[in-house]
């Protein structure tokens, strides 16, 4: 299973919504309920699934308007490669 599929599974669990289909360009505004609180739940679930750790500044940056699922995937890949 590639990272995108695994990430999609995490989204289904956190948002309790199996209809979510992730693409690189998907933004927080396009996923119902992706607010500050769910963002942290999502980060915790991703950390657990991929066995990685995000820095405070990274978590904050991922909330910026110019960020999307693609940048999140990029960051995950980068951390997995380390």
């Amino acid at each position: 299973m590639d990272n995108l599929c695994e990430l999609q599974e995490v989204f289904h669990e956190v948002f309790d919504d199996d209809t979510i289909v992730l693409k690189g360009a998907t933004t927080a505004a396009e996923v119902g309920g992706w607010d500050s609180l769910t963002h942290i739940n999502l980060i915790v679930a991703i950390e657990k699934r991929f066995k990685i750790k995000f820095a405070t500044a990274e978590i904050a940056r991922l909330k910026n308007d110019d960020q999307n699922v693609g940048t999140l995937l990029g960051l995950i890949s980068l951390k997995l490669a380390r």
């Binding site: 119902g32 500050s36 915790v44 820095a55 405070t56 978590i59 904050a60 909330k63």
Partner: protein
């Protein structure tokens, strides 16, 4: 010297003209550092304050470098405890009078210390997590003591400062952009000196009149107009004054090559308290979110994901009370923070209720309904106006108008 004063604006005009003539990056950095040092010189009152400031900056930089090399939560927390104790003592928090009264007589006063503290904590945490590349002493001092962010917001992140610091060329490109920047500075001056000052004058008069009336036995009809006046005037003053200040520093910093984040985005059109803190003094709101709320809630969610959402309300209260206390040394600021913690929790509770009873798709529809949006904006504005009643001074002073109003309501 204060931002917005004639001497500040005159010197800014001169500095920006000279800055564009400085040929190399090291010289431009030295030029900006000299401007910041000159500004700082006008604000630090005595030798003891200079020494305290030096220890504050030096220790922060040294610990940040240690944390970069040897990340250690124990070291971070040990330093944070000392840092916060020093902060409370220097800011002379009123509760210290009961525990360490001697602290209140220390002749140290550092303008902008609250903002320095937040920048320092951010650099320390980010350093420990490997998020501060190119942290040099020269860069760090200029980041902490930059004249445009020294006394108040916006709270710039080190990484953003570093981006400007590596180039340091005037941001407005061409005469049109330059005119726009100066126009923004001018608008900032008008907001502070004319509009804000006008609102403050009217507020002060209304407050004095209400207290005067309240000393007798007034009726509700007599008290209400004065109460309404001060209820709306103070939020108007705060917005005009602080957003005007930010217009000046953001414009001024751009002239000297520093890009500062925006701090106000139509805050009085926020639809709830959480939204409000992403629009009003938003760099503070984001700081609270990133360095108080997120670590607190994340720690809970990691341990117990199933029940984490219930603990979120507690995290809101803790984060907002701490942020409230950060605003000033008297108890009224804790009340201000508590009210906002309540507002944020109520927002989340209402949203959770809607999702549970009607489903998430309905929430999306609900947020689009125009009249609900209008009601939510009006409610948030009035909630903020109520909370800011606890801002202007010690608790007794803040409570006086409310007491007078409540007295008239009694039969």
């Amino acid at each position: 010297m204060t931002v917005g004063s004639l001497e500040f604006l005159g010197l800014l005009l001169l500095a920006s003209a000279l800055f564009s003539l400085v040929p190399t990056l090291p010289l431009r950095r030295a030029f900006l550092a000299a401007c910041s040092a000159g500004f700082l010189w006008t604000l630090i009152p005595n030798l003891a304050s200079w020494v305290a400031l030096a220890i504050f900056i030096l220790s922060g930089y040294a610990v940040a470098q240690l944390l970069r090399k040897w990340p250690s939560a124990v070291l971070l927390w040990a330093y944070l405890v000392i840092l916060l104790a020093a902060f409370l003592a220097i800011k002379k928090y009123s509760f210290l009078a009961y525990i360490f009264p001697v602290v209140l007589s220390i002749p140290v006063s550092i303008v902008g210390l609250s903002y320095m503290l937040f920048r320092q904590i951010h650099v320390l945490v980010d350093s420990m997590q490997g998020e501060t590349e190119h942290l040099t002493f020269w860069g760090y001092c200029n980041y902490q003591l930059n004249l445009f962010t020294l006394t108040a917001g916006p709270i710039q992140r080190f990484q953003d400062f570093q981006q400007s610091w590596t180039q340091l060329t005037p941001i407005p490109a061409g005469s049109y952009e330059l005119s726009k920047t100066w126009l923004r500075i001018l608008i900032g001056v008008i907001k502070i000196a004319a509009i804000g000052a006008g609102f403050l004058f009217a507020y002060t008069k209304s407050y004095s009149r209400l207290i005067e009336i309240g000393s007798g036995h007034p009726t509700l009809a007599v008290v209400l107009p004065w109460f309404i006046a001060l209820f709306y005037l103070y939020p108007l003053y705060i917005y005009a004054n602080f957003s005007g200040y930010c217009d000046i520093v953001i414009g001024g910093a751009a002239l000297l090559g520093i890009s500062l984040p925006e701090n106000f985005v139509k805050p009085y059109l926020s639809r709830n308290v959480i939204d409000f803190w992403t629009r009003f003094h938003r760099t503070l709101g984001f700081w609270i979110r990133d360095y108080l709320f997120t670590p607190l809630y994340k720690a809970v969610a990691e341990r117990n994901p199933a029940t984490a959402k219930s603990f979120a309300f507690g995290c809101y209260f803790i984060a907002f009370v701490l942020a409230g206390v950060w605003h000033g040394s008297t108890s009224n600021f804790a009340v201000y923070g508590l009210i906002h913690g309540f507002g944020a929790s109520a927002t989340k509770l209402w949203e959770t209720y809607l999702v549970r009873t009607r489903g998430r798709p309905y929430l999306k529809e609900y947020l689009q309904i125009r009249w609900i949006k209008a009601v939510a904006i009006a409610a948030t504005l009035h909630f903020y106006a109520f909370s800011i009643l606890f801002f202007p001074g010690p608790l007794d002073k803040c409570l006086a108008p409310i007491r007078i109003l409540v007295r008239t309501l009694k039969p």
